[in-house]
Symmetry: C2
Subunit: 225 residues, 2 copies
Amino acid sequence: MIKDLFKCDQHGRMPGDQRRAQILQSAFDLFSQKGFSGTTTKDIARLSGVSEAMVFKHFSSKDELYGAILEAKKCSEGLHKYPWESNEPMLAAMEAKDDLGVFYHFGRQALEKHQADIAFMRLLFYSALEEHELAERFFGEFVHEIYRFLGGYIAKRQADGAFRKIDPRIIVRSFLGMLLHHSLNNILWDTKRRILDIDNETAARSFAEMILRGAAATPSTTDNN
Amino acid sequence: MIKDLFKCDQHGRMPGDQRRAQILQSAFDLFSQKGFSGTTTKDIARLSGVSEAMVFKHFSSKDELYGAILEAKKCSEGLHKYPWESNEPMLAAMEAKDDLGVFYHFGRQALEKHQADIAFMRLLFYSALEEHELAERFFGEFVHEIYRFLGGYIAKRQADGAFRKIDPRIIVRSFLGMLLHHSLNNILWDTKRRILDIDNETAARSFAEMILRGAAATPSTTDNN
DNA sequence: ATCAGGTGAGTAAGCACTTACTTAATGCAG
DNA sequence: CTGCATTAAGTAAGTGCTTACTCACCTGAT
């Protein structure tokens, strides 16, 4: 019998916090696959390789378990890292007022992140539909900050006369729409890429060009290579 | 006690097919609010004002009830009607090669439809996450047809030299992304319109302008009023 | 009298969650 | 190193309740 396979089905004893983390991971996987009410505590226990009682030794209720996922995810990679943090190319492009570079590197990082964390995206969608607090907090903090940041840059470039004078938030919404809708297609609706199969680099470049021409004041042809 | 309130809680007898339709409507409302596994057959019965047994007299199982919703919705308004059917202004704009008009009227109709049928949109999302067949069929037929139609128009206008020579599907994806993402914000994430509060007319016009400038070959300023 | 519309009171399985208990690692005094 | 108390990791077998679904039985209009 194989032990220590990946993470599940470890029959032996395990330090408390390690098992706790494992249960958390199992719950995350299942909630993101089947939603909150579609997942049973028995499923979570089975995937963790322990009895149901252990789940309730670590988390007092199914609800608390859900809440703990959010905390764990928030403190780990992803959530607290905005698409411009540790995105040197984008920050450099902002410095240089290279608008195409800004949008391209922002979009590229976003698409890459979506693709790398499909389970989290699904969880986010479930929580939005099920009206758990995760969604509200995420969109109230994270998304709001994105609008502030990107919108701020656009406003500055409008002052420079580089962009048309329309509500920057509409430009942000358009651009995020392209990115998120594209990821949604790949994750949810057209996982086989039957309608459109392009890599993240092509997508980010196309969307960046589109939004830039769409929002630019001077009808520049943005002839970068 | 109030009887005959809206549609629910009708205590008296009712013709079979009428009651059936009512149960269907209750199930639709509840599934779209709480998802398939989040809704109980008891809830459905209560909302319909009948006993649970009646639900199973009309539908042999909860699954079949879900399936019947799809059939009913498909045959009724909405699903089989593409955003260009009974959209004379858009068809006229196509005839006149008024690109801005085409995108504007398409977008406007789409946004209006999303807003009018929030419950259906939610159901569609739930079914995409839960991987019921509804989502697959919808996106396989409806969405595919939209790409064909809009993409076809764009290809024709590219031949005219009006649009840049990029994959028309990327333009369609960008445009649908703006529209759907905007609706998603309004329906799911920012129902209070705290980030951006614009009416459908403004949104459709902004998105249409954006996509047109983004995709146009000649950097025209599209000075329509 | 018929029969479609409608029900109360089930059933077996499944649910979140608990209790009473066993097992294995870790000290630490002699 | 032994022997034993302590404690954390773990479970089998429940608890009461809910679930999807059934069945024997009404009821009232034609």
